[in-house]
């Protein structure tokens, strides 16, 4: 038995506090649902597959001290050394460390001398071992060969002939076509042949809208500093890390060598997102807690105020559960009103968030989940006072005046 009609009459006569709680719930829902989609977006961003065996990779930065250092020679010797180390799966040379927020990019075209309508992509200069070292998956075509490697001075300008690109980049620049054998142009008339496609590589910048567009070229240039990537056997990364600097310095002491595990770069790249998730979660939790306190307070206040009529209702035949249920149903009515108002407010707020701050669009599913959450918070808050109300003695009807 729900007593809905008299409950609504009674609520109508106490509409101000009821409405205040409704509005508080509405505001909470409007804020939380918009927070939740931002959190959701960040978590999805952080959780995106990188395509890279992040946990097994160590990045090494080698900086030559002498001005006229032969980096090309050093690379071959270092690669020989690294690849032979125990517990090392493979090693590669690269101009930039992936997922490190530093990298380079270029615009590529499908036609010679094309200047507009290109597709942006990260670009890495690396060697044929990059696929195995990064743990990438070749899904079409082939890898570079050692004979395709070009080693040269930065002052030289040489044309590169082949590239391996990511599937995403392939789909963007040659949508619906088989990219193997197709040319890439970087604004001049020289074609770079796409010889292979790797499934995924997130590139340099996790925040970039084109993250995942990546092209790899078989190039190593004679620069003052260079990066190596070393992939350890699973679970052996830290063990390998311990001796790397020592081994490389032993081979040639004329360099400054720094190592850092790739997962640390990734953590730094996502530090802002992680912080955002944390702060917004705390805000959402605090808000829910405050609104719950408000509901506890109001319910207790109402029950105290109505102690006499609760006693009278008990005297007239209400069971304990009739009394508890009354307050829980009343609370649900208030909450449902708040949720209705809050859903509307959430969608309106979201329109501005989308338009002015390019936040994600609030869809029905997260909104419904948040609405349910608000309902649960509200009912949970009302539960204890409502159960306590059931303990008011029917004798209250005759005892108090």
């Amino acid at each position: 038995m729900l007593e809905l009609q008299p409950m609504l009459s009674a609520l109508w006569r106490n509409k101000v506090p009821a409405l205040l709680i409704s509005l508080q719930l509405a505001l909470t829902l409007a804020i939380i649902s918009n927070i939740v989609i931002i959190i959701q977006e960040r978590i999805e961003k952080i959780g995106r597959p990188t395509g890279i065996a992040v946990e097994e990779i160590i990045a090494i930065n080698v900086m030559a001290i002498p001005q006229d250092y032969d980096m090309i020679g050093a690379i071959s010797a270092d690669m020989d050394l690294l690849r032979k180390l125990p517990l090392v799966k493979d090693a590669t040379v690269t101009n930039q460390v992936p997922l490190s927020q530093s990298g380079s990019a270029g615009t590529f075209y499908t036609q010679p001398n094309q200047k507009v309508g290109g597709e942006n992509s990260n670009r890495y200069n690396t060697d044929p071992n990059f696929i195995n070292t990064l743990g990438l998956k070749l899904v079409a075509g082939r890898n570079f060969t050692n004979t395709e490697m070009q080693y040269y001075d930065p002052s030289e300008i040489r044309d590169v002939n082949v590239a391996v690109i990511t599937q995403q980049f392939a789909e963007n620049i040659y949508p619906g076509q088989d990219p193997i054998g197709k040319p890439l142009y970087d604004g001049d008339s020289h074609p770079i042949e796409i010889i292979g496609v790797v499934e995924r590589h997130l590139g340099a910048w996790v925040d970039w809208s084109k993250a995942g567009n990546v092209a790899f070229f078989p190039i190593a240039r004679n620069t003052q500093d260079i990066n190596y990537l070393v992939r350890a056997e699973p679970g052996k990364r830290d063990e390998v890390l311990k001796t790397l600097v020592e081994k490389l310095s032993e081979r040639d002491p004329q360099r400054v060598i720094k190592t850092r595990i790739l997962s640390e770069y990734v953590a730094r790249s996502y530090a802002g997102d992680n912080l955002m998730v944390k702060v917004l979660s705390i805000v959402a939790a605090t808000l829910s807690f405050i609104v719950a306190l408000g509901i506890v307070g109001l319910t207790i206040f109402w029950i105290n105020q109505r102690a006499k009529q609760i006693g009278v209702k008990r005297a007239l035949g209400a069971t304990r559960s009739n009394i508890s249920r009354y307050f829980l149903v009343e609370n649900s009515l208030i909450a449902v009103t708040g949720i209705a108002l809050g859903s509307a407010a959430a969608l309106i707020v979201n329109q501005y968030m989308v338009r002015d701050y390019s936040q994600p669009v609030l869809t029905l599913v997260p909104l419904s989940i948040c609405a349910l959450l608000v309902l649960v918070v509200s009912l949970t808050a009302a539960l204890a006072p409502a159960l306590r109300a059931a303990n008011i003695s029917p004798a209250t009807a005759t005892r108090s005046v």
């Binding site: 007593e3 006569r13 007239l316 035949g317």
Partner: protein, 233 residues
């Protein structure tokens, strides 16, 4: 109808134990109109509360309609209150947020009657207490006498066999008190057993029988119709 044997009720607070009723024995027959008088604090309300299943006795035996009601659970007691017993309080105890119609509806909803049945009963009792035209009014819009008539209507709507009234005229002036008393007498004539606590000796005398409670015990039993002169408390 009601039979109490050696009923005891004590209230324990941190410091003292109050014996509100001690070895309280009383029988009320079907159809009787019993008035209860006694000094303040003597245990009259406690007796009514136990009789009406609002409180449980600390000891002794209470038979309502020959059924021992000492060991019923809350649900059973609520049901008995709802079906067999009507309450009238000194302070009327109407629910201020509900209009008269909805106030009378309260016990009927707990009874589980359908809307049609409830409406029929509410209209009937409002008519009986002469307030049909006021069904949509709030209690605050009525005089004390009118409020008490609504409270009586609420108590009657479930057609209880047993009506308990705790100083029903205590907050009313004498004219209104007399109207309420006439209403109760009328109800009693139609077969409802009534136990009424009152401070008004005149009203007490109009009952079939008056019992005096002093210090938690029935002090004196006399049938007013037989010895009307001696009834003044």
């Amino acid at each position: 109808m009601l039979k109490m044997h050696n009923v005891r009720k004590s209230f324990r607070t941190d410091t003292i134990e109050t014996h509100a009723l001690r070895d309280f024995s009383l029988e009320v027959k079907e159809g009787e109109f019993v008035s209860v008088t006694g000094p303040s604090g003597s245990g009259k309300t406690t007796f009514l509360n136990i009789a009406g299943l609002l409180e449980t006795p600390t000891g002794g035996q209470y038979l309502l309609d020959s059924e021992d009601v000492s060991n019923l659970n809350d649900r059973q007691r609520s049901r008995l209150r709802n079906e067999k017993i009507g309450f009238i309080f000194q302070g009327f105890n109407l629910i201020p947020d509900l209009n008269l119609f909805d106030n009378i509806d309260v016990p009927l909803r707990y009874r589980g009657f359908n809307a049609k049945e409830r409406r029929k009963r509410i209209e009937k009792v409002l008519e009986q207490v002469g307030l049909s035209a006021r069904a949509k009014h709030l209690p605050a819009q009525l005089s004390g006498g009118q409020q008490q008539r609504v409270a009586i209507a609420r108590a009657l709507a479930g057609e209880p066999r047993f009506l308990l009234a705790d100083e029903p005229t205590g907050n009313l002036d004498s004219l209104m008190a007399r109207q309420v008393m006439e209403l109760l007498e009328f109800i009693n004539e139609w077969g409802t057993t009534i136990v009424m606590v009152t401070h008004d000796p005149e009203l007490a005398r109009r009952a079939h029988r008056n019992i005096q409670i002093v210090d938690g015990q029935v002090c004196d039993l006399r049938t007013l119709t037989e010895q009307p002169e001696a009834a003044t408390a």
